[in-house]
Structures are given as structure tokens and as C-alpha cells.
Symmetry: C2
Subunit: 312 residues, 2 copies
């Protein structure tokens, strides 16, 4: 009469090993978390659906890692350190145990790499595609969260890493773009969130590039009530992205998960020093200026209506 059904043994086998402090071994109705004393909590949630945010045939370990990493990227953009996460997984009834094993192995790998653990969640069936949702919990010193609002005219516009690889990677997987060493496909399948770069106290505003550089820069402009000008020639591109010769795709494509930051001129040196410590490349691509919340791109004319994309 007290035999545990499939859902519980599945959780015990694959998800309990991921559980950390506060998760109560996933045996309770909820997790109990003691917040780090004197810190503010930073919380974000993202959903991923097969066929929309990842490909149904993608390796499950990479799906798990991407789900965790897109949320880690939100913490990085706020200047927050990761603490834990809750996860809901809705999968077709026929999903094999091996899928869960690989999915959980991917999560375990990235938990160790980024220093956080599973707090709780839910596993259900769905008659549709795999639907995943992850809520991440991080922490930050009081008042030090980096917001989208906060850029001032004259602040430099900086990005980490290279821009456009995520969107080109999706096209590479579809065979539309050359990708000799798989770099582009790898960037699409496995974002590289910049959590090692602590931007709190350095950036005056930040966002992660998930909807496309120009659109996300527009978010900073609207939030800060100011304009922006970037020089397309300064936007850092990877070698295969440069070879693809499609700058509009790079500047409007999504899924980069690099940081886009406003940095006051007198903090630029601090950013470069912090980036060197963290081994994260940073590049200044333009500056904010007083005026309407428009993004000007030197050296590029975009087709009307092609400013970015949404996952909706």
C-alpha cells in the first residue's frame, strides 16, 4: 500500500543526487533555505520548450546544462552569485530513463562548475513536447544588484566574448552556415554564462544578450531613458562568425548569453582588470548618449522591423 509509483523512484534516482543544502533531499513539500545573512536574494525563471528553445534531438545533458546556464546568465547580468534552483520537468510518458540520466548528469556537471545545487521541483507527464522551467536563486550585497536602468550619457557600451555565435549556431546545425570545427553549433547548444565576471560596482547597467545585441541594447536605452551608438566594426566576432559574413544576423540574433554592460569611463579600467582576472574577453563597442531611446549602429543598415527576435 505504500509502494512508491514511477514519479517518486524517478526523482530518487536522478534528481535526489543533485539536491543540496535546504532541499531536504527532495522528500518534503518545499525546500527550506537560510538566506545568506545580510544579502539580498536575486530570483529569475526561464522556460525552455523542445522545438522552440532547443532541438528535440539535442543531447539531454546539453539541454539540462543550457537550461541552467540561461538562468545563470540572468544572475551574471545582475551581478549576483548563484545559490540554488528549482526545476519543473514535463516530458512525454514514453521518455526513457536514459534521457533523465543524461539530463541529470548535465545538471550535475554544471552545478559543480558554477557552485549551486537543486532545491526542489516537480516532474509531470505531458502529451506535448518536453517543457522545462527553472527558477534560479542567487544573492547580492544589498543595493548592489546591477539593473537594466542606470546607464548615463557617456558610459561606454561593453560586451563580453563574441556576438552572434548563438544565432549562427542554430543556422549551422540546420546546415545553412559553414561551421568547420563546430564552434557555432557549440555556442548555440551550450551557452557560456559569464558568472566569473563580477560586475557589481563596476557596471552602471547590464543585461545578458538573449534576444539579440541591438534589441537588448534597446532594453538598456528604454530603461535608462537614453540613446546608444555602437560601431559595428568594433563588435567582436568569432572567426567562423566573421566567415559567415552576415553582420545583421550577428547583431540581431539571440542566444548569445554574453553580458552587455554600461560602464562609466572612470570604471573602464576596473572592468578590464576584473575581466583579466576572470579570463573573460571584454570589448568596448560604443557609448550611451542623451536623447531618445534609440540604438544607432554605425556601418549597418538593418531591414525595417529586423531589430531582434523573441522566443515567443
Amino acid at each position: 500500500m505504500t509502494e512508491a509509483p514511477a514519479e517518486f523512484s524517478l526523482i530518487a534516482r536522478h534528481f535526489r543526487p543533485l539536491a543540496g543544502p535546504g532541499a531536504l533531499e527532495l522528500l518534503d513539500d518545499a525546500a527550506v533555505l537560510t538566506p545568506p545573512p545580510g544579502r539580498e536574494l536575486v530570483l529569475a525563471a526561464d522556460a525552455m520548450v523542445a522545438g522552440v528553445h532547443f532541438l528535440a534531438e539535442d543531447p539531454p545533458d546539453l539541454v539540462g546544462r543550457k537550461l541552467l546556464r540561461v538562468n545563470l546568465s540572468d544572475l551574471a547580468a545582475m551581478g549576483a552569485a548563484p545559490l540554488g534552483y528549482l526545476l519543473t520537468v514535463s516530458v512525454p510518458r514514453a521518455t526513457e530513463d536514459a534521457w533523465f540520466a543524461a539530463f541529470a548528469a548535465g545538471l550535475a556537471h554544471d552545478q559543480a562548475e558554477f557552485g549551486l545545487s537543486l532545491l526542489g521541483g516537480d516532474t509531470t507527464s505531458t502529451p506535448g513536447p518536453i517543457s522545462l522551467s527553472l527558477t534560479i536563486v542567487g544573492h547580492v550585497a544589498p543595493g548592489r544588484a546591477v539593473r537594466r536602468a542606470g546607464a548615463k550619457p557617456g558610459d561606454g557600451i561593453w560586451v563580453t566574448g563574441t556576438i552572434g555565435d548563438g544565432a549562427l549556431g542554430l543556422r549551422a546545425i540546420r546546415g545553412e552556415v559553414a561551421d568547420p570545427d563546430g564552434h557555432l553549433a557549440g555556442r548555440y547548444r551550450l551557452p557560456r554564462p559569464r558568472n566569473t565576471l563580477a560586475i557589481g560596482g563596476i557596471a552602471s547597467a547590464a543585461i545578458d544578450v538573449s534576444d539579440g545585441l541591438i534589441q537588448d541594447l534597446g532594453h538598456l536605452c528604454r530603461a535608462g531613458h537614453l540613446g546608444a551608438e555602437i560601431d559595428s566594426a568594433l563588435v567582436p566576432l568569432s572567426t567562423p562568425a566573421r566567415a559567415a559574413n552576415d553582420l545583421p544576423a550577428c547583431l540581431t540574433g539571440g542566444d548569445d548569453y554574453e553580458l552587455l554592460m554600461a560602464v562609466p569611463p572612470d570604471r573602464a579600467g576596473d572592468l578590464v582588470a576584473a575581466a583579466q582576472m576572470a579570463a573573460v574577453p571584454v570589448t568596448r563597442i560604443g557609448q550611451f548618449m542623451a536623447g531618445p531611446a534609440d540604438v544607432h549602429v554605425i556601418g549597418l543598415t538593418l531591414p525595417a522591423g529586423r531589430a531582434g527576435w523573441s522566443h515567443f
Copy 2:
């Protein structure tokens, strides 16, 4: 170039009005929450999929309220007070604005009733059925969270409200069970979580009845390493549930979202007093005892393997 696409205007129209303290008006990558000083946080997440946890034709306001309430019920079972929630919504592209408006109106109604607000989330499209996920954040005095483990031999087994209405309600909606005044269908569509009954310091263990009374009692037994005996004649049933004359369905059906508690004999008076204050009916249906983690039900023989159900 800075035109906001459909996803953003949808969030602004329907979800921003739900945002509370810490949500930063849903304009940032994450919420920033100052934890109540000296309290522990309690976190839970539940997913709901159309066709599995609710019916595609259910009124969207009730879907929103049910999603929030199943999570509120997890907080009630831990003795925690609600604070806020994060929400991910994946819907078919053709979903009409009116669906979002009604869904958000339901959430707004219950936010006011239960005292919490939206912290953040994500909205995406899906080629499949509507898939919802909600992470709830609550708080509790340090060390006072009520766990599944903690029942002692001799503790009474208590439940709130009536048992079995949720499962019978689903059958009533399907026309399989008489439901003259719609009470049963109403209990399925809109759970009534018991957050007004503060069980911290009174119950030695608790769970909410979501998988079925017997199965959830089995969870308390396994967590506490003890057995349980309930008298089926003492299990409180609503008038239409009594008329349905299917006690096995009532004791094994899910979706009741009543509290199932272990209460030491010397705290029973406190429970009754607290329940009267909160206007929540409570009933003692049996007791825990030393021994293997088995649930004995006086007056009922269940078919083999029929102990409860899972949403998986």
C-alpha cells in the same frame, strides 16, 4: 529599431500589474528580494499541463488560481507564510489576448486573497499544450518549518476539510458522478489551500493531500519510519461525496489540497483552537504507531496496487 515585440507588450499588459515589491516591474533580468529579517525561506515549484492537470477548456482565471493554489498548499503544509512567486507560461502561438487577461485576473484575485505578488518569470510559445510552472517563495521562523518527517507513535492523524472531492470533481466534470450543485467540480477546478491555519508548532509532521489520502499518509509514514491506522468511517466526506458512495475513490483520489497532519495528543487542543480561529474544519481520523511504514485502513479493502495516483 527599439519597438518592443509581442512578448514584451504581453508582459506589460497582463503581468506587470501583478508585480509586487522586488519584481522591479518585471523590467529586469531578475527580481531582487530582501528576505524578511531572521526568517527562513520556503520554496516549492509545481508544473501544470493542459490535458494532464487541468482541462484545456477550463476557464483561464481558474487555471491561474489553481496553479497558484497548489503551490500555496505546499507552503501551508510546511507552516510557511506566502511572500511571492515566479511564473513561466508556455502557450500555443494562437492563444488569444483574452486568455492572458483572464489568466492574469485569476492570479490578481488570489494574490489579494492570499497576500503575495508576482516576482518574475518568462513567457514563451509552445507547439504543444499550455504548460505552466510556478515557483512559490514563503517564509517561516527558523527551525519551525513543518516537515513530512516528525510524526511519533501515538500522534493523532488529522485532516482539514473533506477528502475525495477533488478526484470525484474530475469525474463529475466528465459526467460520471452526480454533482447537483457543482460542489465537486468546483473543488477540482479551484482547490482551497489551508494557508489561514498556521500549523507551525502544533503539527509534528504534515503534507498536503495531492496524490491521495492513503498515498500521502504513506509519505508521512516512510519519512517518519512508523505506521499509521485510520478509520475510514471517520474520514470527513462532503454530502455529494457521500452520495457518490465510492470510498476507495475518496481515499485514493488526488487533488484535495487539504492538510494531513500528525498532531501529538497534548497539542490536539491547540489545533482545534487554531482551526476554529481560522474557520477551518479539522477531523481526527486515526493515529500513528510504531512499526513498518504501512497504512492500515479500518473498514476498507483496496484492490491491489490502488493506493493512489501520480501526475506522472
